[in-house]
Symmetry: C2
Subunit: 327 residues, 2 copies
Amino acid sequence: MRDVARAVEMSPMTVSRALRGDETVNEKTRDRIRRVAADLGYVYDSTAQAFRTQKSGFVAVVLPSINNANFAETFRGLSDALTGSGVQLLLGSTNYRLEKEEELVGQLLTRNPEAIVLTGGHHTDVTRKLLENAKIPVIEIWDLPPDPVGHVVGFSNADAMSLIVQHLVRQGRRKLAFVGAAAGSDMRGVARRDGVIAAATALDLTQVAQIDAGPAPVSMRHGAEVVVKLGPAIATYDALVCVSDPVAFGVLNECRRLGIKIPDDVAITGFGHFEIAAVSSPRLTTAGVHANKIGRKVAGVLQDIFAGETSAQWIDVGSELVLGETS
Amino acid sequence: MRDVARAVEMSPMTVSRALRGDETVNEKTRDRIRRVAADLGYVYDSTAQAFRTQKSGFVAVVLPSINNANFAETFRGLSDALTGSGVQLLLGSTNYRLEKEEELVGQLLTRNPEAIVLTGGHHTDVTRKLLENAKIPVIEIWDLPPDPVGHVVGFSNADAMSLIVQHLVRQGRRKLAFVGAAAGSDMRGVARRDGVIAAATALDLTQVAQIDAGPAPVSMRHGAEVVVKLGPAIATYDALVCVSDPVAFGVLNECRRLGIKIPDDVAITGFGHFEIAAVSSPRLTTAGVHANKIGRKVAGVLQDIFAGETSAQWIDVGSELVLGETS
DNA sequence: TTGAAAGCGATACCAA
DNA sequence: TTGGTATCGCTTTCAA
């Protein structure tokens, strides 16, 4: 900046103002400074700015996995909505592990982000303390935590599952199995399983079977493997309620290979309304979640925060039953 | 840091050293300082460090889209391999647009990244100039640019397509159609189309038909729509060479709905070896690319760079023909 | 093994 | 409309 100042024979202060578009700098001067800066190949140093102003221009985002269409879509919604706002997203992923989240949050906070977005409402005690001490806005997404740290943009995984169970029961199906990761690894999976059990209990169903598909993240392959392992016996259930669409798709394909009729012999449902649900044949019955909308709503919350809003927001984006041909 | 220093009655300098694990600080002193810092809820300021040392600890990564399993997988491979190295990834996505890339690169460079990773070898002139002026290592991935800016970790999209075309021709198929985005939007798509045409020409095939599936990113839906539009006439081709697995899957599903026999009436091939290729039924013939490996190789290049290696690396991770049941 | 001084590049604040 | 000065929190360098 000093070099630019020398070149235009003005003070660095004026250059600083000009480059930021400060209106108090004469317009012609501003243009000239900008042109000279560009000619010199000057690159503005955001680090120095962040240091001086104590405003990093970063928002930290913690996702369980980036390689998941729905989380990626949330990130995209957020990213797109923030385009042009000058905010940069610092992304970290936890591989569905709370300890990794703790480490990540610690690292991210040293970057002095202006807000932090976390997936889910479950955190380690250390993480929670870090967040509370950080004195920056915290936004928990993809869940409706009973005791949120700050803002919330999510939906109830249990309620979404309840929609599915009620639908299946209306069809006269009573013997359900939940196909998902074993307890503990992915809290959203656990919430979905609990939602199924709660809904089943409320409707006086026989106990819901639980079919473990391995540790999160569970995917198409795991769904298929479950069916391979159980074989035709899997059709003794009335419905296979899967923790996600990819799992459901894997289950579906393998069932068809075995000659099991879907949905006549057994219904299959997914979760997430991934693209695969819509294009698979037969289409999957699933729970539609609004991944992109979560991202955009988070952007809205951030904009409110930057505009000075202080009250904690609680946004339930809801979910919906998406009827397919597998139930 | 001054507060911590006061609390332990030492100089900030010693605290700084202790927190970074400098061995010249007495071990007991180090532990005490660390404990006190934690008790005080002190959070290290990476911004100040980055400012003072002129080392940001950032590596910038530019992807066309984060909502694409393969790019996401590359990011994950890179991210995983960099875990614990103290490097943070600054992610930006271009939505397959070079102008967006230009803007993004400009923004990212102000953060003073220690290296920048770009997808593809095509950039605007301005982008290229920015990169050359930045004097930081540049790694282009997912392509083998004829005139790389710096390092390269990729594969030849054209060669991969050539493998597919040769395979189809060995089966006696001669009337090919390429299904992909219209020219210009996604350079990888263009490279694949050109690869098909070149391979077909080399094998004396009749002209390759080009079926536009809309602007990138093209997905399952677009593949399906192409078939809906053309109807049963699509089976007059011997093979539908699709720009990606999602597109191929959409094409496949819609063909089956129309009663077209795959691969008897027409072969279908994808690109990318996405999970969908393996679990679809029939499985897709596709080109296997090593997305995760690209990420890990990039991490390796970065580690070499940080270790002082200066020579530009050129890594071809290759691709392979993955035989499925659609050809 | 520890400490003092200087400075990274921007901007807040005050002055002209 | 423009400029001077101090300073953000850390680390490099030199000294003790």
